[in-house]
Symmetry: C2
Subunit: 430 residues, 2 copies
């Protein structure tokens, strides 16, 4: 006998979890589709040369690589960005630009398994390829706002910054040679103490460290852009335009300037953002991204600019299951008790009629003891048990038992039963 | 520069195809969910020993096997049945039986690539585990009926047979030693001539070949079960009970007895079925399955009986795109033209209001020439272009251009615009 087990770092998804994930994904897809983003898909396996060398050595080590039967060097994708770059280069002539797509799919990384981190997980990416316009910067942030709101989350902030503006500031301060290091120190701003940040910056740029930290503070006040003009001679930046837009839209409560948001990855070149839920800050950012200018450079002569984001599905599931669990007790799902196999046509007829109205209805699949059927309904969190015994069938009535309250009620026809099941809260008098 | 290409036997899915697949899958999931089937998921990778030896040598050769970084022998799943068996054995105590689940996911097989056959494709499986009741046989067939009907297909047949009954017939004819061979000859009934079938059967069971072929004919008439009683002494079989049920439900036009449906795979032990669309017979069966009695035997002491089916998603996509293409010209999708970046707040406000009403609205992301924006709308099959130029904004009107007809119309407020967009066919007078 073979021991039934999943691989180290991998796990099954049971119905309770998978229903939740599917609902979340479908909510996200609905919003994306209203914005005209279309789905694409790419193979789980790619040629090794497509995958390697895109995200540094550490990344390469985590890729599941092997030889297929044709001795080709292949690997499982570790993100959805490299496949997107390949996809856009390969199908360039078949796509309409600006190309707006989303891709929600699994990726694989041979990371050291940690609590809550697995070697197989979902990514949910959305991008606009082929325009550097203000509109595209604005749309991505607006889309993030709408995506999160549509999940029923109302207290959150999208923190924005711009790598290009940071570069201009570093130029003005003549510290641009340390750009990469400064950005990566600032990236730790919310993880370590301000003192530590200052200390690290000082060892790099001496007294200019305090200017940088002052700027991070100032960016939280409205006159920040005036200050940049006066002190640094930096005229209207893209970040200022984006910020003005959201001010006009009266969304300044949600969209916040934050120079400490720099994003770890090297490839960002413009606007960058991270999203935090105010009563779930410990999760970190639940939606991050930014503008990158060289998406297709590795695969094509045509270099395309892009901007996009990635939703942290697992973090969102953690938050939502805790803070906004679906109240399953109020479900109106119904189990038809199975008294005798000779009455199957009655059960199936009834189930068919109710399902046509969009109601979830099961027939218990064995003529078992009623107690067992009752337990099954409870375990699957069905609220109602429909009792169509010999007597009810001969009297042409529909007897419904509410599992929560224990109450039983008879209905004289399917229409009345159906109308109650569709809205059991509202009906007080039958 | 790296050549952007997909692996041999693999392919990308472009938006036009992926939108179609997602709609199809979501339609199928909706029906399954109304029947109380819950989704599960399992990892793409499994231990080699879990995957090997389940479907014969030919099967094993097609599995993508390799060693991971921890020198573990692993492989990509080649179907969703073996993972289900492992899943049920592993999580036995967490599941509610009868366990009704579905699983729609990719599988990988290193087959020789042929036209329309790829090394990566979707399977869509649904099963009931843990009951051998008549109800469960009936439910699976009824579910297939409903799944296909809900896809808008109305002219189809589900052909049913029962391996157990076939066994009883072979016993009565004393040819049970040739059971496996006879079943596999009958499996070719619709692919080769009847003469060939007869010839193959004769070389195996001599004159009894004609009896078998006569039975195949007789099974298409109503007195078949009486005939079985009289000639073979076979009393009421499960297949007869299932058939009687569908007769009572007045579904005999859809559910047909057919002894030539035997299913290739060894593991079926009871009811088996295949589904054919009458104007798409060349596709073969679009939904097949049956009862198996030893699902978990390899992984557990507890042997569970199951019955399930698998939907041929790719075949259905081929059929539906040809026979029932979505009429995209009647779409009400709308592109807001971008005249100037200073008016972005107006565009985004408007888009937000329309999307709240469930309308798909894009803003063109650059203030480009109108001709270019118009072409974009046409390429993405948007029907409307909303023209909010300086004049329209100052006059507080909404000017909508119908791309099909070229007509332009002004609306005095968002409500009127929205109500027209929601139902452009019905409104004749504005």
């Amino acid at each position: 006998m073979i021991e039934p087990k999943t691989l180290k770092g991998f796990k099954d998804s049971l119905p309770s979890e998978e229903v939740y994930r599917k609902n979340l994904i479908s909510n996200i897809e609905k919003t994306l589709s209203l914005y005209g983003y279309y789905p694409i898909d790419t193979p789980a396996l790619e040629y090794k040369e497509i995958l390697l060398g895109k995200g540094g050595d550490e990344n390469d080590k985590q890729i599941f690589l092997f030889k297929d039967k044709g001795e080709r060097d292949v690997g499982l994708r570790y993100d959805l960005t490299v496949p997107l770059a390949r996809f856009v280069s390969q199908h360039f002539n078949q796509l309409t630009f600006p190309f707006k797509r989303y891709h929600i799919a699994k990726v694989w990384r041979g990371e050291k398994p940690q609590k809550g981190r697995f070697r197989e997980f979902y990514q949910a990416d959305f991008d606009i390829i082929g325009t550097n316009s203000l509109s595209s910067d604005v749309e991505i942030i607006f889309l993030v706002f709408d995506l999160i709101r549509n999940l029923g989350i109302s207290d959150f902030s999208i923190k924005i910054n711009d790598r290009k503006l940071m570069h201009d500031i570093f130029m003005a301060l003549k510290i641009e040679t340390f750009e990469k290091q400064i950005l990566s120190i600032l990236d730790k701003y919310y993880k370590v103490s301000e003192k530590e940040i200052l200390h690290e910056l000082e060892s790099l740029i001496n007294s200019k460290a305090t200017i940088i930290l002052e700027l991070v503070q100032k960016a939280r006040s409205y006159d920040f852009f005036d200050y940049l003009k006066e002190e640094f001679g930096i005229n209207k930046s893209r970040l200022e335009e984006v910020f003005e837009f959201f001010h006009k839209m009266q969304l300044s409560n949600f969209i916040k300037l934050d120079l400490a948001i720099t994003r770890g990855l090297d490839y960002y070149t413009g606007l960058v953002f991270e999203t935090f839920i105010n009563d779930g800050l410990e999760l970190g950012s639940i939606c991050s991204g930014g503008r990158y200018d060289n998406l297709t450079a590795l695969f094509s002569d045509i270099t395309l600019t892009g901007i996009g984001g990635s939703i942290g599905l697992d973090r969102l599931i953690t938050y939502l299951t805790e803070k906004k669990p679906v109240d399953e007790s109020f479900s109106n799902r119904c189990l038809i008790a199975n008294f005798s196999e000779k009455d199957l046509p009655t059960y199936f007829d009834l189930a068919y009629e109710l399902r046509k109205e969009g109601l979830t209805v099961e027939i218990y699949l064995e003529p078992a003891r009623l107690k067992k059927q009752f337990q099954y309904a409870e375990q699957k969190k069905f609220r109602f048990l429909l009792l169509m015994g010999e007597e009810e069938i001969s009297r042409h009535v529909y007897k419904l038992k509410d599992i929560n309250s224990g109450e039983e009620q008879e209905y004289e026809n399917i229409e009345k039963l159906c109308s109650y099941l569709k809205n059991p809260q509202k009906s007080t008098n039958l």
